[in-house]
């Protein structure tokens, strides 16, 4: 049928435009990542994007869908982009490729493609890599000012593709801090030290901890916060989910911190450590896998914040945004169902299963 019905007017925004705004808004955080952790981040991004486009094109072909219009809706690109931003800078190239390809094929197209997937594809890819290659996935570099052997561009390429530097040195060298110890991320460091019986007051004297969380990491988080606020201002993302994530994190960490500030990290440390801001503004706000109602978005965000703090504190992994997002993704159909807004002219929204009293 060629019958076209109204409206004939259209706001000039497109999916592609939204996706490009998201990528654009990651730039401040990306600059911070590159500044502190070197060019490996850029190489990861290029690898991930190339993998995403090739995989997406192939699978669209297999699924007999129009390749070009969907390929350029930008969604695959955003998945790859966000996943790459979450990866350690010198991750072996094939791990990046596996993570991205898995995200596109299994987390997205197996469910029916864009709009139909239940789980955040980038986080599915991330979690697959994290539980398959836990060592490599937690091998972060020391931030530039603390690194004994800062990595240049060529070395980054060499490490990623061969596992050794141009000169043939193994990766361990790059991970040494100025004090000669292997550097972990602030979250990882705190976890390890706490397990060995140190108190937070002692741990905080270590070089890797400084400022709000740790050198480098706080700036990365501030960068993503700035980009996220920009997206909010542009109305590309709603404000409920990021607000929920941050609030949930503050509430949960405050409860623990107030109980024992010697053993539990402060809310400000949680907010500016790890992937908090990237998660709150860019990952949790993926519209496809988040709740769509205003109330549902609040609950979704709060859940992610709370779960993240719980796993960071009591779980086996230093960071937990990915797990928290995936866990809350599961609740979305139910959240959407039970948080329907009140429709015009209805007094109170009836729920299915309510029995009429009269």
């Amino acid at each position: 049928m060629s019958l076209i019905s109204s409206p004939f007017a259209k706001k000039p925004t497109s999916v592609t435009e939204l996706m490009l705004w998201v990528i654009f808004a990651t730039l401040p955080g990306l600059f911070a990542l590159v500044y502190f952790f070197g060019f490996g981040v850029i190489i990861n991004l290029i690898l991930a994007c190339a993998t995403a486009l090739v995989t997406e094109a192939l699978i669209l072909k297999v699924r007999q869908r129009p390749v070009l219009p969907i390929l350029f809706d930008g969604s695959a690109l955003v998945t790859a982009w966000l996943l790459a931003l979450a990866l350690p800078p010198l991750l072996p190239w094939w791990m990046t490729v596996i993570g991205v390809a898995f995200a596109i094929v299994f987390a997205k197209h197996v469910y029916g493609g864009l709009g139909n997937n239940l789980f955040n594809p980038a986080m599915v890819g991330y979690v697959l890599l994290l539980i398959s290659f836990p060592l490599e996935m937690t091998s972060w570099l020391p931030p530039a000012e603390l690194a004994q052997n800062p990595v240049n561009f060529l070395d980054a390429v060499a490490y990623i593709f061969t596992g050794t530097s141009m000169a043939g040195e193994p990766m361990t060298a790059t991970r040494l801090g100025v004090d000669g110890f292997t550097m972990a991320t602030p979250l990882d460091h705190v976890k390890t030290e706490l397990a060995q019986g140190y108190r937070l007051a002692e741990i905080e004297k270590d070089a890797v901890i400084s400022g709000l969380s740790g050198s480098g990491w706080q700036w990365v988080n501030i960068g993503f916060l700035a980009g996220g606020l920009f997206l909010m201002f542009r109305k590309v993302i709603g404000w409920q989910i990021p607000a929920g994530v941050l609030l949930g994190m503050i509430i949960m960490s405050f409860v623990l911190f107030a109980g024992n500030s010697d053993h539990y990290l402060s809310p400000s440390f949680h907010l500016f450590a790890g992937a908090t801001m990237l998660g709150a503004f860019f990952i949790a706000t993926d519209p496809v896998t988040a709740s769509t109602t205003p109330k549902g978005r609040w609950i979704f965000g709060l859940g992610i914040g709370v779960i993240t703090v719980i796993i960071r504190t009591f779980g086996g992994y230093p960071d937990a945004i990915a797990f928290a997002v995936l866990l809350m993704n599961m609740t979305v159909p139910m959240l959407d169902y039970y948080t329907k807004p009140k429709v015009y002219g209805h007094k109170v929204k009836r729920q299915q299963g309510d029995t009429d009293a009269h």
């Binding site: 019958l3 019905s5 109204s6 007017a9 219009p69 864009l114 807004p341 429709v343 002219g345």
Partner: protein, 532 residues
């Protein structure tokens, strides 16, 4: 576009959602309302209003004068129709009508003469002396329907009297491109208020509020002047911010009162009745001059229209006549109504009806037309835009999957089809089309179900009847048989006695054969025998 800084005389509330599409009003609201040369033929659609078809009372070959009744109300849910000009009825036949699917329906076709001569008119200026029923009857006989776009018969809307305390004049005109109400107010604000005054005679005590968007500064000024001139100081002018769809009945009510029309209810449930400015003018003309509704102001606009503006157009004027008048040789899309809620005309031969407020003769790329819909990314922009606070996205999923019960559960029928959701959709999904599809399918299913229920009842009744006939027949046969048996018994009683003796002998023989059996068994056997 210029905004009026006139301060609203009553507090303005907000409605959820809404959008700000390009207004495109300046193209057509800069020139006065003009007349248009009469076409050769007018085809007046007898179903040119909401409700039922009017019943034609003229015959082919009849000479008619302008304003003469050509079709009557069916007495239930329609109005009168009048000849929009003088001439001859040349046909009463099915012609393409103003409908998105290009349906044919019954039209009275009038060959116009050049005189444009009115029939005798009977003004009713003595409004104070008229009974309520007389006023309503005159409105019905003048063929007046809501001219805001829905063309609901006005006399039906005005019927309810009890509990009504406020009359809202809808001058919001929120759809892009359309400016006919704007122009009407600028030129005839006093007549609008006079019409409202006539309506107010139907009620004991009623407040009048004019609701208008702030993008019509000249119309607002004209209203203020007219109110002063007519000394109608109690009329309140409510200026609402320009936001689509503020002119929707439910939305304007929410803006002006802060209340929501209850689900399944009417504005009258809140004590409100709403009429469009053009309807008020039509009522004024009907009482002041006795003129029935034979024409309306139509906005002709769009980039392909060379003479954009507002025109007084007689009903039944073919759209192609308007196009040739405007030198719109080859418009890309032809839309009747506004770009948000109007529909594409499949055929330019159709006549203008009472609901036609605008014809957009769009240049090929002016309006969004054919496009590729991408998958829904659940961004929720539609939800933020929906003035009914629905979840358009959920409705879409369910409508697409033919899960109509689910769609109803998400209050599909509270959708006013304003198109705000589809306007903001980044994936270009024709959402409203899905809702229309779901609504009409559900309606059809309900009709089918009622039909099926009726058929089932009929079938059951028939079965029961057949069953009864059968029973009665059997009873009759049984009685006849009994009668015959009695007759036979009476005739051969002796034979019967002999038979009884033989039977008794047989029983004795049988008993002997079973001597070993216990007493009880014998007894029971006895019983059996007697039974037999």
């Amino acid at each position: 576009m210029e905004r009026s800084n006139y301060k609203s005389e009553i507090p303005i509330f907000e409605f959820h959602g809404g959008i700000h599409p390009k207004e495109h009003k300046l193209e057509s609201n800069q020139t006065p309302i003009q007349k248009i040369p009469l076409p050769q033929q007018l085809a007046i659609n007898l179903k040119g209003q909401a409700g039922n078809r009017s019943l034609p009372i003229v015959n082919v070959g009849d000479k008619v004068l302008k304003g003469q009744v050509i079709a009557e109300s069916d007495g239930i849910f329609s109005t009168f129709q009048h000849a929009p000009c003088s001439g001859t009825v040349v046909a009463i036949e099915k012609r393409p009508i103003a409908h998105p699917s290009g349906l044919d329906d019954l039209c009275v076709v009038i060959e116009t003469d050049s005189k444009d001569q009115w029939c005798e008119l009977f003004p009713k200026k003595n409004i104070h002396e008229l009974e309520r029923a007389e006023i309503l009857a005159h409105i019905c006989e003048s063929g007046i329907v809501g001219l805001g776009g829905a063309s609901f018969p006005t006399h039906i809307k005005l019927k309810r009297e009890s509990g009504i305390d406020t009359l809202i004049i809808n001058a919001a005109e929120c759809e892009p491109y359309i400016t006919c109400d704007d122009r009407l107010l600028q030129e005839r604000a006093a007549d609008v208020l006079r019409g409202a005054q006539i309506i107010s005679h139907l009620y004991d005590d009623i407040n009048i509020i004019v609701g208008i968007e702030d993008n019509k500064p000249n119309a607002i000024d004209a209203l203020v002047d007219a109110r002063k001139q007519l000394e109608m100081d109690t009329v309140k002018i409510a200026v609402v911010p320009t936001k689509y769809p503020s002119g929707g009945e439910k939305q304007l009510i929410q803006l002006l009162t802060g209340e929501e029309v209850p689900h399944g209810g009417l504005p009258a449930d809140l004590g409100l009745v709403m009429h469009n400015v053009a309807t008020c003018v039509a009522i004024y003309e009907a009482f002041e001059f006795g003129k029935p509704l034979v024409s309306r102001v139509v906005t002709l606009t769009g980039e392909a229209c060379q003479k954009p503006g507002n025109y007084e157009v007689p009903f039944g004027t073919p759209v192609e006549h308007l196009m040739s008048f405007c030198n719109a040789t080859n418009p890309g899309v032809l839309v009747m109504g506004g770009p948000m809620m109007g529909f594409e005309l499949p055929n330019p031969k159709v006549g203008i009806v009472k609901a036609t407020n605008c014809i957009i003769m769009a240049a090929p790329k002016e309006l969004k037309h054919d496009h590729l819909a991408l998958p829904c990314i659940r961004c929720g922009a539609c939800m933020d835009a929906c003035p009914a606070s629905l979840l358009p996205q959920q409705l879409y999923w369910h409508a697409k999957a033919d899960e109509f019960e689910k769609a109803e559960e998400y209050d599909l029928f509270d959708c006013i089809e304003c198109g705000a959701c589809a306007y903001v959709c980044p994936s270009d999904i024709p959402l409203v089309q899905y809702y229309r599809y779901a609504k009409s399918t559900i309606r059809n299913q309900k009709v089918e179900k009622t039909k099926a229920d009726k058929a089932r009842l009929r079938h059951e009744a028939r079965n029961e009847r057949l069953e009864r006939v059968k029973r009665e027949k059997a009873e009759k046969h049984r009685k006849a048989a009994e009668a015959r048996r009695k007759a036979a018994e009476a005739a051969g009683e002796d034979d019967a006695k002999k038979a009884a003796v033989a039977a008794a002998l047989a029983r004795v023989k049988a008993k002997k054969a079973q001597q070993d059996d216990s007493d009880t068994k014998t007894e029971s056997n006895d019983q059996k025998d007697t039974d037999a």
